[in-house]
C-alpha cells in the first residue's frame, strides 16, 4: 500500500507521485517507487537548481565535453584532454569524517577514470567550524586522514586545496574534492549504453546494504529490519578502487568498450537508467546476478544500494573474453548482469521475473524541474552596512598582522598537506603549499595548474559578488603559477532550496559565476550542487567553490609564491582600493562579519590574469602570489615564508578610498581584488613594467627582497617591521597549535 507516509519517507510529494502514475499508466510497486524517488531526488535530478544552471557558460574553443557526462574535458594540445570535476561529500563527512571524506575522494576519482582518463591530481576544499571546538578538531582530523587515506593509497597526489573555519559550518562541514585526469582526446569514453544486445557488466565490489537512502527506506515490509542493520555509512576500499582503475584503463585501451559509468549516488538505479537514457536505449538487468556481500537482499535494496567501488560497463557483444581476461588479471570479477535493449525501458528482473519496469527518459530527462520562489534575505541590508565607527579594536598594524598570520584560515596548511602524498607520480612541479597545484604532463612540454577557491563570508555578505570573486581568485591563482585558465568546474554548497532566501542566494551565485566566467573566458565544464546544508534550521554560508584548470605551455616556466633570492625587485600589480568589507582583518581583529566584499572589475581581472601568465611565460618574473585573505600584508609575508629566510622591504601607497578607515589597516589588510605581488630580477624590471603598461594593468615597484625582516611602509611611514623568523613561526604553527601531541 502506498500512502502519504511512505511517499514522505521517499522524499516524494503527492504531485510527484501522481506524475509517476501518469508516466507508468499505473501505480508503481515499491521497487519502482524507490527507483523513481532516488532518480527524482534533488541529488540526482537537480530539480531545484537546473533552471539556474542553464545560465552557466559552458562553451569554448577548447571544450571537448561540457556538463552532462561523468566529468568535463578540455583540449590541452598534443592530442590530449584534461578531464576534471569537483564533487561534495558534505553530509557523509559529518556523520563519519574519515569514511565520508575517503569515499568522497573515491567517488570523484571514478568519475574521472570512467571518462577514459588517468587521474593525475586531487584537490580539496574544506570548511569547518571554529578550531577551538573539540568537535571541529575531531572532524578535521578525520576528514584529512580520510582524504589522505584514500588518495595516498590509490596513488593520486593531492596537490592543493583550501580550508576555512567559520561558525556556520560547525554543524555542517563541507568537503569538496576535485580530481583532474588526462586522456587522449580521441579516446574519451562516455557514460552511454548503445547497441541492442550488447552485454552489461557489473565490476568491482559486492553490493551491500550500505548507503541505502536511510530516510527513503522503511516501508511495511522492511520494518522488521533494524536501523542497525542498514547503516548509511559506507566504508571506502581504496585498494579495490586501485584495481578497478587499472583494469578499466586497460580495458579502455581495447576498443571493446561501448560505455561506462560508476555507481555513485543511487547506485545501480542511476547508472543503468542514465547510461540507457544517454544512449537513447533501454536496458534489462537481473538483480539476482548482482554480486552481493550480504544475504537476503531485496531487489529494492540492490537497486538503491550505494556500496562503493562499483562500475557498470557496456561492452561490444563478442568481446566478452577480453573483458574477462583483463579483470581476472587484476583479481576482479566482471559479471554480466544484463543487456542493452531497444526501446527506452529500464527493465529490472529478479531471477527472470520483472520487478520494476520504467521508461528511462521518465527517470532521467523528465524528472521534475522546479522554479522555486526566491526572495532577498532580510539580513543582507543590515550586514552590508559598515561604518568606520564599528571598528573598535585599535591594535597597531603589526599586532594585527601577527594575529592574522596565526589565524587558522591564513596560517600555513602544512599540517594538512603533509598528510597527503602530493608527489606520487612525479609530476608535481609546484609542491603543495607553494601556490596553485601544478602537475607536468609527461611526454609533452606542458603542465596544468589547478586551484580551488571560495569564500563563504563573501557569499554570506553578497552571494553574487562572492561567486564572482571565487572565480576570479581561482583564475588568478592559476595565472600566478604561469597558466592560462582554460576551464572551470564548480561545487555549489547551499542550504535548503525550499526556502526562498536560500534559492535567491543560489540564483545570485549562479549569476556571479556566469558573469565572471563569461568575462574571463573560462567555460564551466561541469560541477556539483549540494543543497540542504543546514543543521537545526541554520544554513551554511552560501559557498560556491570554483575549481579552475590552467595550461602552462612550458612546464619549466611554472611559478610558485616564494621569493627566490635577495635583491629582487618587488612589484605590485593591480590597484588597491583599501576595501575592508568581509575581510579576514574585520573578522579576526575587529570581530566583525560585515560590509560588502571587494568590488570586482572583470575587465581588470582579465587583463591582470593575462598579464601574469604572460610575464611567467616570458620568464620575466621569479615568483607570483595573489592578494586574498589578509590582503597585501599577508600576501607579501607568504612570499617570504618557506623562502629560506628571504625578507622584504616595501613602501606602498596608502589606499582607503571607501571610507575614512585607519589608513594603514585598510591599505595593508583590505582585500581588493585583482592584485598580485611578483618578484623580478632587477634587470627585468623595466621590461616587466612595460608589459604591465601595455596590458593596461597598474604596476608599481614597491621595494626589494632581502634582509631578515618584513618591513612594510605606507606612504613612507613604517607600519610593520617584524623579524621574518618570528612572523614565519606564528604562521607555521597556527594550525598545529590546536592539535596536541607531536606531529612527528
Amino acid at each position: 500500500m502506498i500512502d502519504l507516509a511512505l511517499l514522505e519517507r521517499h522524499g516524494l510529494t503527492r504531485d510527484e507521485y501522481d506524475r509517476i502514475v501518469r508516466t507508468l499508466g499505473r501505480a508503481p510497486n515499491e521497487t519502482e517507487l524507490g527507483i523513481f524517488s532516488v532518480m527524482w531526488s534533488e541529488h540526482c535530478s537537480y530539480k531545484s537548481s537546473k533552471v539556474h544552471l542553464r545560465r552557466l557558460p559552458t562553451r569554448g574553443p577548447r571544450v571537448l565535453q561540457g556538463p552532462g557526462e561523468n566529468a568535463g574535458a578540455v583540449d590541452i594540445g598534443d592530442g590530449l584532454a584534461a578531464v576534471f570535476k569537483i564533487e561534495s561529500h558534505n553530509h557523509p563527512s559529518f556523520i563519519e569524517p574519515y569514511q565520508g571524506a575517503a569515499t568522497g575522494v573515491g567517488g570523484i576519482i571514478r568519475d574521472i577514470f570512467t571518462m577514459g582518463a588517468r587521474p593525475v591530481a586531487l584537490l580539496n576544499s574544506l570548511r569547518f567550524g571554529p578550531l577551538d571546538r573539540p568537535l571541529t578538531r575531531r572532524i578535521l582530523e578525520g576528514v584529512v586522514a580520510g582524504i589522505g587515506g584514500y588518495g595516498n593509497s590509490i596513488g593520486i597526489p593531492t596537490i592543493g586545496g583550501e580550508v576555512a573555519f567559520e561558525p556556520g559550518y560547525a554543524g555542517n562541514p563541507l568537503v569538496n574534492v576535485l580530481c583532474l585526469g588526462i586522456a587522449r582526446r580521441d579516446a574519451l569514453v562516455k557514460g552511454r549504453a548503445a547497441g541492442e544486445g550488447n552485454p552489461v557488466y557489473y565490476v568491482g565490489a559486492g553490493t551491500g546494504r550500505d548507503g541505502i537512502h536511510g530516510a527513503t527506506m522503511a516501508s511495511a515490509e522492511f520494518d522488521e529490519r533494524s536501523a542497525e542493520k542498514r547503516p548509511a555509512v559506507q566504508v571506502g576500499d581504496p585498494f579495490m578502487e586501485k584495481l578497478l582503475l587499472e583494469a578499466c584503463l586497460e580495458l579502455m585501451k581495447t576498443d571493446a568498450l561501448v560505455g561506462v559509468q560508476d555507481m555513485g549516488a543511487a547506485g545501480l538505479t542511476c547508472s543503468t537508467s542514465e547510461m540507457a537514457a544517454r544512449g537513447g536505449a533501454g536496458m534489462e538487468i537481473d538483480v539476482a546476478l548482482v554480486p552481493q556481500r550480504e544475504s537476503g537482499m531485496t531487489p529494492y535494496e540492490i537497486m538503491l544500494s550505494e556500496s562503493q567501488e562499483r562500475m557498470l560497463l557496456v561492452v561490444k557483444a563478442g568481446r566478452e573474453a577480453e573483458v574477462a581476461r583483463i579483470f581476472e588479471k587484476w583479481d576482479l570479477h566482471a559479471v554480466k548482469i544484463g543487456v542493452v535493449t531497444g526501446g527506452g525501458l529500464l527493465r529490472v528482473k529478479d531471477q527472470g521475473e520483472d520487478v520494476a519496469v520504467a521508461p528511462t527518459a521518465a527517470l532521467v530527462d523528465e524528472a521534475p524541474v522546479y522554479e522555486r520562489p526566491m526572495q532577498e534575505p532580510a539580513y543582507l541590508r543590515e550586514v552590508q552596512a559598515l561604518e568606520p565607527a564599528m571598528l573598535t579594536d585599535a591594535r597597531p598594524p603589526e599586532a594585527a598582522f601577527l594575529a592574522l598570520l596565526e589565524t587558522p584560515a591564513i596560517a600555513s596548511k602544512r599540517w594538512i598537506y603533509r598528510q597527503y602524498d602530493h608527489m606520487v607520480r612525479t609530476n608535481t612541479i609546484v609542491l603543495a603549499g607553494m601556490g596553485a597545484g601544478v602537475v607536468r604532463v609527461k611526454g609533452t612540454t606542458r603542465a596544468l595548474a589547478v586551484s580551488v577557491d571560495g569564500n563563504g563570508r563573501y557569499g554570506y555578505l553578497d552571494p553574487e559578488r562572492g561567486a564572482m570573486l571565487a572565480v576570479a581568485e581561482a583564475a588568478r591563482n592559476v595565472a600566478c603559477a604561469g597558466a592560462v585558465p582554460i576551464g572551470a568546474t564548480n561545487c555549489l554548497n547551499f542550504g535548503n532550496p525550499e526556502r526562498p532566501e536560500i534559492m535567491w542566494q543560489f540564483a545570485r551565485a549562479v549569476d556571479g559565476i556566469t558573469a565572471a566566467c563569461t568575462a574571463l573566458g573560462i567555460p564551466i565544464t561541469g560541477g556539483n550542487v549540494s543543497l540542504y546544508n543546514e543543521t537545526d534550521g541554520r544554513p551554511i554560508d552560501p559557498t560556491p567553490v570554483l575549481g579552475v584548470v590552467g595550461l602552462i605551455e612550458h612546464a619549466e616556466r611554472a611559478l610558485g609564491r616564494v621569493f627566490r633570492a635577495a635583491g629582487s625587485a618587488i612589484v605590485l600589480l593591480g590597484e588597491n582600493f583599501g576595501e575592508l568589507g568581509g575581510s579576514e582583518y574585520l573578522k579576526t581583529v575587529q570581530g566583525l562579519v560585515r560590509g560588502r566584499p571587494p568590488r570586482l572589475d572583470l575587465a581588470r581581472a582579465r587583463a591582470l590574469q593575462g598579464l601574469v601568465a604572460a610575464l611567467a611565460a616570458d620568464g620575466l618574473i621569479q615568483s607570483a602570489h595573489d592578494c586574498s585573505d589578509g590582503g597585501f600584508a599577508v600576501a607579501l609575508a607568504e612570499c617570504a615564508f618557506d623562502s629560506g629566510g628571504v625578507g622584504a622591504v616595501v613602501d606602498v601607497a596608502g589606499a582607503s578610498l571607501e571610507a575614512p578607515y585607519d589608513l594603514a589597516a585598510a591599505t595593508l589588510f583590505g582585500e581588493s581584488a585583482s592584485r598580485v605581488i611578483v618578484s623580478v630580477d632587477p634587470a627585468q624590471l623595466e621590461a616587466t613594467l612595460a608589459c604591465a603598461a601595455a596590458a593596461g594593468v597598474p604596476a608599481r615597484a614597491i621595494g626589494e627582497t632581502g634582509g631578515a625582516h618584513l618591513i612594510m611602509a605606507v606612504d613612507g611611514v613604517v607600519a610593520i617591521d617584524c623579524a621574518l623568523a618570528e612572523a614565519e613561526r606564528r604562521w607555521a604553527t597556527g594550525l598545529d597549535r590546536f592539535f596536541a601531541g607531536r606531529a612527528a
Binding site: I95, E96, A205, G208, D210, E228, K229, P231, V233, E294
Partner: protein
C-alpha cells in the same frame, strides 16, 4: 587490573581489510577459512577496586575514544588472561 576491549565493525559495515586477508588466505590455500573480520584490540591497565569498576571504566573510554559508535561496536573482558 587488566581490561580488554575488542572493537569490531558492526556486522553490516563492509570490512575491506578482512575481505583482503580472507582472499590472501585463500590464495595461500587456506580455503577452510571461510571469512575474516578484522578489528582492534586494546589492553588497558586500569586502577580499579573491583572488576565491575574496571569494566565500567573500560566501557566509558571505549564509548568516548576507542570505538567509533557510527560504524563500530565493542566488547569488554576484565581480568588476567
Amino acid at each position: 587490573m587488566k581490561a580488554r576491549v575488542f572493537v569490531t565493525l558492526k556486522p553490516s559495515v563492509f570490512d575491506p581489510q578482512g575481505r583482503t586477508v580472507a582472499e590472501a588466505l585463500h590464495t595461500l590455500g587456506y580455503d577452510a577459512v571461510e571469512g575474516v573480520r578484522q578489528g582492534k584490540y586494546f589492553e588497558l591497565d586500569v586502577r580499579a577496586g573491583t572488576p565491575g569498576e574496571a569494566r565500567a571504566l573500560a566501557a566509558e573510554v571505549a564509548d568516548k575514544l576507542l570505538a567509533n559508535p557510527v560504524i563500530e561496536s565493542y566488547r569488554i573482558e576484565v581480568g588476567e588472561v
